[in-house]
Amino acid sequence: MTNSVVVEDLVVVRGGAEVLHGLSFALEPSRITGLLGPSGCGKTTLMRALVGVQAGITGRVEVLGLPAGTAALRSRVGYVTQAPAVYADLSIAENLRYFARVVGARNADEVLEQVGLHDRRNQLVQTLSGGQRARVSLATALLGSPELLVLDEPTVGLDPVLRRDLWGLFRTLADSGTTVLVSSHVMDEASRCDRLLLMREGRLVADDSPAGLLKHTGTKDVESAFLAVAEAS
């Protein structure tokens, strides 16, 4: 299967300091890849590099066969930032309508169903809870059915039922051919991924399936596996 994302020797320099030290990996379509690591290890910087908004990059970052950030990719890549990037003074429906116009998408109603907010469509975003805002932000990224979905901690602060539902949604999207990259600092979400990239201090310290990772480290959960890998590196 052709890789949808290819990263080779990615180095990112920010404010004079090197924050990513030569990462190499590839992502496949129809897979959910979990990007796990502690806060501050460079997950967001890596994701920003993939969607083409990170400056100070050297190395190769290719998305869907094109250099990351190419204009033609902008309607094919969906990005959810860590903090919800939506207009608080607009309603859910108004946010969706605006982003749909910008992206040129027609599936605004569908994505509202997918994130479970269709019955609140006319509510102002500023009256929503943090978790609901995060879902509005996610909905805007699903507009236009992007082939690559880059999600920066989309399930932080959500209740377990919602988290399960969203992971179900990511699975559905992956099954239909989408490449899904999800970051998290919560290790227990790892078991829902097909593949894990473990990051620490700007380096990839492991690249394996959840089962493979546990097997190779001889541990019972991802948290212990991360500790084993971190101590060995």
Partner: protein, 242 residues
């Protein structure tokens, strides 16, 4: 298409904020009325100051509202989010220009209707040209606000740009003192400040019944300065950032 969607979105946001809307539309009228009765027995002074004020209100208010709105866009992450979509920088800038331009038409329409009507401000050239110049002044304020919002880290700082950017221009624009009586370096400074031409244009309209070459020059300079500021603003919208 994206430009229109952006303009519509910006206007919806302002409509959601009736207090800001009221400030934009009512404050100029109140201040003009105040001024009219401050100079109750000196109608000539009111005629001298009233026209320039019709240039000053749209410039100042649009500068303030745009710099804060754009700063919010930068700090809330929506700007970065938009720059990962097919949205062109021009779509965003012209969307803002369209929204605030429309708002300026309403603002100036109301202010000049009141000033030229009940308050008896004497503008020889008539209301239409006043509104045309005032809308250009609004766009100048908007473009400067867009540009300077890149240098503010918080709304608190953005508001501080108002005295820093607007007051020097106001002091040197020729409204308080004739520009020819200023110290030479100050007159040079006044020559490069765009607000000077906005105010000068309004003064031309109060003096002459028909469009003069002088007025056209002022109009072109204000339009040119707006485009320059808009270009500088576009340069601050970088898709890639650290």
């Amino acid at each position: 298409m994206r430009t229109l969607a952006t303009a519509r979105r910006v206007l919806t946001q302002i409509r959601r904020d009736p207090r800001t809307l009221a400030l934009l539309l009512v404050v100029p009228v109140v201040l003009l009325t105040l001024l009219r009765y401050v100079y109750d027995h000196k109608p000539l002074v009111f005629d001298h100051v009233g026209g320039p004020l019709l240039a000053l209100f749209p410039f100042t208010t649009m500068f303030l509202v745009t710099s804060v709105a754009m700063l919010r866009e930068r700090t809330s992450g929506t700007l970065e989010r938009l720059l990962t979509t097919p949205m062109a920088k021009a779509d965003l800038l012209f969307g803002y220009a369209l929204a605030f331009g429309a708002l300026a038409v309403v603002q100036t329409g109301i202010a000049s209707a009141v000033a030229l009507g009940p308050l008896g401000l004497d503008v020889t050239a008539g209301a239409t040209l006043v509104v045309v110049l005032a809308v250009l002044d609004a766009l100048l304020g908007m473009a400067l606000g867009l540009f300077l919002s890149a240098f503010a880290r918080s709304e608190f700082q953005a508001v501080q740009f108002l005295p820093a950017v607007v007051l020097p221009q106001l002091l040197l624009c020729g409204l308080f003192a004739d520009r020819s009586t200023m110290a030479t370096p100050l007159r040079w400074l006044s020559d490069v400040f765009p607000l000077t031409y906005a105010v000068d244009g309004m003064q031309e309209l109060t003096r002459h019944a028909s469009v003069t070459g002088h007025f056209v020059r002022d109009l072109l300079i204000v339009a040119g300065a707006s485009l320059l500021a808009l270009g500088l603003g576009a340069a601050t919208l970088q898709r890639r950032s650290a």
